[in-house]
């Protein structure tokens, strides 16, 4: 474009210019950002042109020539750090586009619209608060600075020939749309037992000269299938049944059976929980447990078991509160949370930014396989993710805080129906009771009557209040007879005393207001204690009284006060202030009623019938109220609290003290011409932001989510993904070993409704999966890692599989599913929790390991050393370590030795001969009988020492710990 920036024009040229300019720009408008850029530049051109027309003679005399005037300054001062060899901060001054746009830290270094505001000038002249260039050398001279300023003012003209031309960039492979392939052809109909997975695996075999291994034997295959699908080994009986089964589709039947088992979700959820850094404590030094974080863990397990379509699985984790599945947002806040706050001004904002970074990073890696979090301080070094992209995603989560919130239960609609019906029954029961008792106390007016009685004193004692200290706005006591009058009034000379008066708001709450004849909260009395308070009236003379009327707030206002109600009370009279006689109480009012007061002597038949009726109704009422209360109580879960989002700023270098322009919630710019984009207004609500992201993430034209999850599932089945870096599909990540297969599976996955179980079934029934894992020389020579799947790659079990398999084999496993986790550590209440591994276990501690309360950064004593992630950062794939500490833990810990004894004890009961016991031990642990040599070794050990010793060895053996 810049060749058009000539200083001299005539009108014809201008017309031609615009025509050409528009034509040449349109095709290159490939992204929305690009388009914005073009609009801006076109506007700028008008200015230049107009300026050129009117002032051309003046300017041309002195105008700056880039090559002559500016380039030498760059060459002298800048290019050794920002040139062809070195590009500090990703910035270079020999490539026009980068020089004008900026490197990793600035989005636009040269501002043609407002030249004086160009950050480049500020940086070179030492006026930028953060960066001064050149850093250590002599600063630019005034003349040099002037030249650069004028060059920018004149439009920063930079001829093509004076710019290094970079080769066009390869688009990121994972952003290209997946290629399609028809998978509908029934694989078995081909007659060679190959399903579509096998076709692509075989194709790669052909390229390198490999072939499939033979099918694994039944015992190996069944064990592998059980472990991969459910995380638990089969029993010997299950293996035997399979071997005895003569049906041709017995394997496919078993796959279906295991995928339908509730154990399936308990195994596969772990893969996801690792990838989203789920743990049930805050991390950092306090590391407090989160007792209500398990809801999210259970939600993930349930989602796998119910085969929740993956697009919904994604959407609900971002905005489940908006999609009727609130527990799913536990995802957003499954990471660390520093609860140590201080007075220092930098501390809290930095902590908050770290929380948001954790949410952004996890969202980017979990769903998109893109390390968006890397662009917090500068543009991503390797992938097309700008710093603005990072803050646009941060803006989506700007209103999400760590913490618990009350959520509507999953069965809300059923509950509402139940509440309606119980409420109706309660109405009936109370109507029936009101035949015998008075209505409960109300805040507007309560009447108590008694037989006319002479008294000098009346005492009103409050046993219980509905909330806080009780309040009474007015109390009227009436003399009996035709000329009944309120004898309580202060104006009548009555004195009032009390057990104590509330100290707050003395303008509106005073003892004397109780008998001042004025109604309403603003002239009322509040007691000093919530229970057992009293107020006492002393009349100026003996009066005969028979009733009283009292209230909490008799103002008649629509929003009159109904709290602080005296719901249990007694009225007593006295002649002398010493002897008191009770004349009324709440004991005959509904709710406070007391059968022994209502019917003191239930001797005769009729009275007894009534008493029984009242008792029955009362009990029913109590139960109904209890049930209603429980139905109305909603669970509180650790799934984030939602607030109004504050504005989001792009932060220079990611530092909170260096805010730049505001950034709106938006989709990632690199996807603009793939998925289109969303951009929300600054005042978009918290929910709108997350819903927009959730929907955008699961658009069917977004190539990444399907590829990423298909790859994770592949990894779960074969140990390593087709892409070996499962949360990084960027330039620094690995390339797919079978790119076509990944695409084929991803397309099929979306077209067939995002079903994870369906995809797994395809993988599990493949010949590829069913191969033997035995090594073959030619395979090892060509592909030692078995990435090309010329055999099933043998793997060590995960920590969870080891513990669960051990307990399952010994018979100790408790299969109770869901709910709060069991604790692998001693409970403690230190402010900075001191998590010490337990040594003595409760029966409830023998559940599957996924149900252990996951304390962040704390390894449990025995199993964590088998590469359990710490929950500090995301863990898309576990390393596989082999260490002597593992050996010590598994060979010597009380936990494991106890299981050996338990199993040995059971086997001893079953069989009397050592040989028989050994036989059974092998079948139980290794799912096969021993051969003669093994039998001989084991029998010798059992005879000389114990059967438990043999079992202890078997549960430590490679054969037990390996998925073959």
């Amino acid at each position: 474009m810049s060749q058009w920036h000539q200083p001299k024009f005539d009108t014809v040229q201008i017309n031609i210019f615009f025509t050409l300019c528009w034509r040449s720009l349109r095709p290159s408008a490939t992204s929305w950002e690009g388009a914005a850029d073009i609009r801006f530049q076109a506007g700028c051109l008008v200015v230049v042109l107009v300026t050129g027309l009117f002032f051309a003679p003046l300017i041309s005399a002195q105008s700056i020539d880039f090559v002559r005037d500016v380039q030498p300054i760059f060459a002298e001062h800048c290019l050794h750090c920002h040139g062809p060899d070195v590009q500090e901060s990703g910035y270079r001054l020999d490539v026009r586009e980068i020089a004008l746009r900026g490197g990793d830290l600035y989005p636009q270094l040269v501002n043609r619209e407002r030249p004086a505001a160009s950050p480049l000038l500020a940086i070179l002249s030492g006026k930028d608060e953060d960066v001064t260039m050149p850093p250590d050398d002599e600063p630019l001279s005034r003349a040099e600075l002037r030249t650069i300023r004028r060059w920018i003012e004149e439009g920063a003209h930079w001829p093509d020939a004076a710019s290094v031309q970079l080769e066009p960039e390869q688009p990121l492979w994972s952003l290209t749309p997946p290629r399609r392939f028809d998978l509908s052809a029934d694989a078995t109909s081909r007659g060679d037992g190959l399903n579509p997975v096998d076709l692509w695996i075989a194709a790669k075999h052909c390229e390198v000269g490999l072939d499939f291994s033979p099918t694994a034997d039944d015992r190996t295959l069944v064990r592998r299938l059980y472990l991969v699908v459910t995380g638990l080994p089969p029993s010997w009986e299950q293996v035997r049944q399979f071997m005895a089964d003569r049906r041709s589709d017995k394997y496919e039947r078993l796959v279906d059976e295991l995928l339908a088992s509730p154990r399936f979700g308990e195994r596969w959820a772990q893969l996801w929980l690792d990838a989203v850094r789920f743990a049930e404590s805050d991390g950092f030094e306090t590391n407090h447990e989160r007792p209500n974080a398990w809801h999210y863990r259970d939600w993930v397990i349930r989602a796998f078991n119910d085969d929740l379509p993956y697009d919904q699985f994604v959407r609900r984790q971002i905005a489940g509160d908006q999609f009727g599945d609130p527990a799913a947002t536990g995802f957003i806040v499954a990471g660390t949370h520093d609860i140590v706050k201080g007075e220092d001004e930098d501390l809290n904002p930095t902590q908050r930014l770290n929380e948001l970074a954790d949410m952004v990073n996890t969202t980017g890696t979990a769903f998109l396989g893109l390390t968006v979090g890397c662009a917090r301080c500068h543009n991503h070094k390797f992938d097309p993710i700008s710093q603005t992209d990072y803050y646009a995603m941060q803006a989506v989560f700007a209103g999400v805080q760590h913490g618990e919130r009350e959520v509507a239960p999953a069965d809300l609609s059923q509950r509402l129906i139940q509440i309606d019906s119980l409420q109706a029954e309660l109405g009936d029961v109370e109507t029936a009771l009101l035949q015998y008792v008075r209505p409960p106390v109300t805040h507007t007016s309560n009447v108590d009557n008694w037989n006319p009685t002479a008294a000098r004193f009346l005492r009103f004692t409050i046993q219980r209040s509905s909330s806080a200290e009780p309040c009474i706005d007015e109390m009227e006591i009436f003399s009996s007879g035709d000329d009944s009058r309120n004898v309580a009034l202060a104006s009548a000379g009555t004195q009032v005393t009390s057990s104590g008066n509330y100290a707050g708001s003395p303008d509106i709450h005073r003892l004397e207001f109780i008998h001042d004849g004025v109604y309403g909260n603003s002239h009322s009395w509040i007691a000093s204690t919530a229970s057992d308070s009293w107020v006492q009236f002393e009349f100026p003379e003996l009066v005969v009284i028979d009733s009283m009327v009292w209230s909490r707030d008799r103002s008649g206002q629509p929003n009159s006060y109904s709290d602080r109600l005296a719901i249990e009370y007694t009225v007593e009279l006295s002649l002398d202030g010493l002897d008191w006689r009770r004349v009324a109480s709440s004991q005959d009012r509904l709710g406070s009623h007391d059968l022994t007061v209502l019917i003191p002597e239930a001797s005769d038949g009729e009275r007894r019938t009534i008493a029984e009726h009242i008792a029955q109704l009362s009990e029913r009422r109590l139960n109904l109220n209890r049930d209603l209360a429980s139905l109305r109580t909603h669970p509180t879960i650790y799934a984030g609290r939602f607030e109004d989002p504050p504005p989001t700023f792009r932060l220079h270098r990611g530092e909170h003290r260096l805010p730049r322009e505001t950034v709106r919630p938006q989709s990632l710019s690199a996807f603009a011409n793939i998925t289109g984009r969303f951009e929300l207004a600054d005042d978009a609500t918290n929910a709108e932001r997350r819903v927009a992201l959730a929907r955008w993430l699961t658009q069917t034209d977004n190539p990444l989510p399907a590829r990423v999850i298909v790859n994770r599932l592949w990894q779960g089945v074969f140990g390593t993904g087709l892409v070996a870096t499962p949360s990084d599909f960027g330039n620094l990540g690995a390339r797919p070993s079978h790119p076509e297969l990944l695409d084929v599976l991803a397309c099929d996955f979306v077209e067939q409704g995002w079903s994870m179980k369906r995809l797994l079934r395809l993988l599990l029934t493949s010949k590829t999966f069913r191969q033997s894992s035995q090594p073959r020389t030619e395979g090892l020579n060509l592909d030692a890692n078995s990435r090309l799947l010329w055999r099933y790659p043998p793997q060590r079990m995960s920590a969870e599989m080891i513990r669960d398999s051990l307990l399952s084999t010994s018979g100790s496993l408790d299969l109770t599913a869901g709910g709060p986790g069991f604790l692998l550590f001693e409970p403690n209440n230190n402010y900075a929790r001191n998590w010490v591994p337990k040594t003595v276990f409760e029966p409830t501690d023998y559940r599957r390991m996924i149900y252990a309360l996951k304390i962040r950064m704390e390894p449990d004593a025995v199993f964590s050393t088998f590469d359990v992630p710490d929950g500090g950062q995301v863990c898309p794939q576990r390393p596989m370590s082999i260490t002597p500490i593992q050996a010590l833990n598994l060979f010597n810990s009380q936990f494991v030795i106890d299981e050996a004894h338990r199993l040995a004890g059971e086997l001893t009961d079953e069989s009397s001969s050592v040989e028989g016991q050994i036989e059974k031990a092998f079948m139980r642990v290794l799912l096969r009988p021993p051969d003669d040599v093994e039998r001989q070794w084991a029998a010798a050990l059992a005879t000389e020492h114990s059967l438990a010793a043999a079992v202890r060895a078997l549960i430590n053996s490679n054969e037990f710990l390996w998925i073959e």
């Binding site: 901060s89 990703g90 970079l166 850094r277 950092f284 030094e285 306090t286 660390t336 140590v340 201080g342 007075e343 220092d344 893109l370 390390t371 890397c374 991503h380 070094k381 390797f382 992938d383 993710i385 700008s386 390593t720 070996a724 990084d728 620094l732 990540g733 090594p775 990435r787 060590r796 402010y831 900075a832 001191n834 950064m857 704390e858 088998f866 710490d870 500090g872 950062q873 863990c875 390393p879 596989m880 370590s881 082999i882 260490t883 500490i885 593992q886 050996a887 010590l888 060979f891 010597n892 810990s893 030795i897 004894h901 084991a938 020492h945 043999a950 060895a953 053996s957 490679n958 390996w962």
Partner: protein, 489 residues
Amino acid sequence: MNLFSTSAMRLLDRRRFLSHTMTGLGSIALVHLLSCDGKLAPHGEESERIDDRLDDAVTHHPPAAKRVVMVYCTGAISHLDTFDYKPLLFERDGQPLPGAENLKTFQGAQGNLTRPLRDFRPRGESGKMTSELLPELGSLADEFCFLHGMTSRTNTHGPGETFMSTGFTLDGFPSLGSWVNYALGSENDDLPAFVAIPDPRGNPQAAGNNWGAAFLPARFQGVPFNAQRPVRFLQPEGGISASEDRATREFLQRLNRRHLERFPGDENLAARLASYELAARMQQTIPQLMDMSDEPEHILRMYGADQVDNPVKAQYARNCILARRLCERGVRFVQLFNGAYAMGEGVGNWDGHKELAQQYPGHAEILDQPTAALFRDLKQRGLLADTLFVFCTEFGRMPTFQAGASGRDHNPDGFTCMLAGAGVKSPLSWGATDEFGWKAMENITTVYDFHATILHLLGLDHERLTFYHNGSHRRLTDVHGHVIRPILV
């Protein structure tokens, strides 16, 4: 759209050929394990799968030090009351700190400048002024390179401790010791390469972050034990006799060897075999290591391990002896903690917010003699020639007392750490805080610089010691750090 720089692209190209498979990385561990045993030559393909890691024990440049002993004072030991001498602080005792009128630090408002707890006096030939609070360590002043211009990035203990140990204030990054282990492995295959020795009173605040491996394979994590709590599960629990234990292991290994015949050359399976043999050797070597009955009386006395009337000191002294014994046996990285959090703020560690005068003398008594003895003992046995001695803490403390309290608040802007031993110049004082000891002003040393220098002394280039994790080739020093060359011999 080109959002990333060409330099980055070039770097990328260099790395593209490298595989990222974790199974590949897992194999490194066992290749090391087995090659040490001479059981298995490294597989021909391994070198390419080793990612950015060095070949076993091959360094980037000739190392000055072969191992590290790191004394870590948790709770933030006050530089002002120990090694950073500020005469003006004595003079202006009770006066306001200029420029800090409305300053709020971690716990809030500041009171006035407060002089150090004890007087300072010149030590050794260098005449370095250090506090009488730590006379024994002070007497070693000529041996140390004091880094007085240290800064941290956080003023809270957990993140601060984590930062000093991992280079990040967040959870989930590998510790310095695990990086060193990853790079260099062990000199002694019968012991873990990285041992963390927690204080007798309990764990530091950030606990396992200090010795965790995070996303590095678990093999590289530190094994925590001390003279009071030995390695877990070293012997079988539940009264299994030694002969039964031996026979059981023999049977297990026979099973495993037989199983391996079905998977010839499988390195993972072979490594598990080897791991049980190594575990068995550890059952021998660790009790020998822990048994201090062979330490002569004068050595116990030198460390203060005989002081039964001060049990915490005697226990910490035993931990110091343990540290020396680990060095003697070629353990690569020993991290020795002084201070624990379990007892609360300042009670069992250096977090002196409220009652500095009551708490610090007790802490000093525990730290001073045993730590100085450890240093002297390493020296007299010639170990210091190839051992790097590190003395550190998470951050410093304020020159003022907190408003309404008799102690100092957190100060991440200036504190002191020390290096000594192999490859380090001494006596030397490098860097300085301002005249009150508040902020580092001269030759500021970040924790990144500190880590880069430690790695450099071990022959490692902190920019080249990397591990791929989730989109980044992670480094101990993130994207920061400069080796402090002027302090190197």
